[in-house]
Symmetry: C2
Subunit: 226 residues, 2 copies
């Protein structure tokens, strides 16, 4: 088979798959994941519903593809924001706000990746993409640590083995105290964003951006940033 020809076929395939994902993303953004229907996507693309299964073996596989794309989209945004030429503390806040902004701009996609987990969506591809944004934040902490901008938070003895393993896994140059505190901070950051996205700040907090910035700045202190 000719390489160019095969590339033509493969490219067409990739393009159609991308069009399906785009249309699915559009419906996801407007109606939410529950209302995303393969038939509607196919109809909007002018093709039979059954033809869709040539590209995604099931609705769940399509959703998984959207999950990975969403993780990468958020990750890319965070990576771009991380490049700001300011101190670690301000960069921590900037990246956190970027996560919040992305979530507010793509609420249904955020819910898809950080909301109620869909069973059986724990492939390795998903896991790698999911780590991307967290790695950006830990990069900020690393920079702070290198410039002596971190004081180690307390760590119960019982948590030290876990913390050392985590540090070895993805932040070998950071003290386990910081890595453990970071994981907690990451979970709490998602809690803040999810809270706002769920509308639980309605009638409660008006100045949500300031509230968020203040909260994540205290979170930075909890991780050890000064």
């Amino acid at each position: 088979m000719s390489n160019a020809a095969q590339c033509a076929r493969a490219r067409a395939r990739i393009e159609v798959a991308a069009a399906i994902k785009d249309e699915a993303r559009k419906q996801l953004a407007t109606e939410g994941v529950a209302k995303l229907s393969l038939r509607a996507v196919a109809h909007e693309l002018g093709m039979a519903a059954s033809a869709l299964y040539r590209y995604f073996p099931s609705r769940d596989h399509l959703l998984t593809a959207l999950v990975i794309d969403a993780h990468n989209s958020l990750g890319e945004t965070a990576e771009a924001a991380q490049a700001a030429d300011v101190g670690p503390m301000r960069r921590w806040i900037i990246v956190c706000e970027t996560v919040r902004d992305w979530a507010l701009a793509h609420p249904h996609e955020y819910a898809l990746i950080f909301g109620t987990p869909r069973p059986g969506n724990t492939g390795p591809d998903t896991t790698i993409a999911a780590a991307r944004t967290g790695l950006v934040l830990i990069g900020v902490v690393r920079d702070a640590y290198r410039s002596r901008g971190v004081v180690e938070p307390p760590l119960p003895a019982e948590l030290r083995p876990d913390a050392e393993r985590m540090a070895a896994d993805f932040a070998a140059d950071l003290p386990p105290e910081v890595v453990s505190a970071f994981v907690a901070a990451w979970a709490q950051l998602l809690g803040l964003v999810g809270f706002e996205l769920s509308g639980r700040f309605n009638l409660l907090v008006e100045e949500r951006e300031t509230f968020f910035r203040h909260a994540v700045s205290r979170l930075a202190h909890a991780v050890g940033l000064v």
Copy 2:
């Protein structure tokens, strides 16, 4: 109409509605909210699917009833735990752990009330029930404040109006600094629980209970508890 007779009818109605909710809860616990089907519930109860609509006008109304029940169940559990005769700091941790334990015991119900919000589920009944558990925690903070066990956390000037309004709404006796910090802590607590429930601690944190206790104890400090 005779009172006793009417009560008999009304009681039967309530009992059937409760049976429907119980069966729905059972299916919710085993299969998750997506797989909860009115037809299956009706079949399990030996009645026609259409008869179910005499009790709940739609699947969404049934889910809303389950949401309110779940909020009250969690709230009751928290209230019971809150009665422990120990200092505020330990009680804060105990209540937080109770929330976590309830979530681990009823993951799908927890996801139903604190996961991705289902659109149009913001009735006043829901809001009242949803506040119940939070009010338990704020009661702990109140006790701490009364026994001079609280140092006011920092509060940006821009957040003061919000904080004062929140304090006036549900904690008039507490300083706005504490109330504002509490709302953030509540969101972050749900973040920690949601993180564990989503399986994001897998291969990361082994000692989850200790990790959680340490995190919420630091959260208590962030609210001002000493």
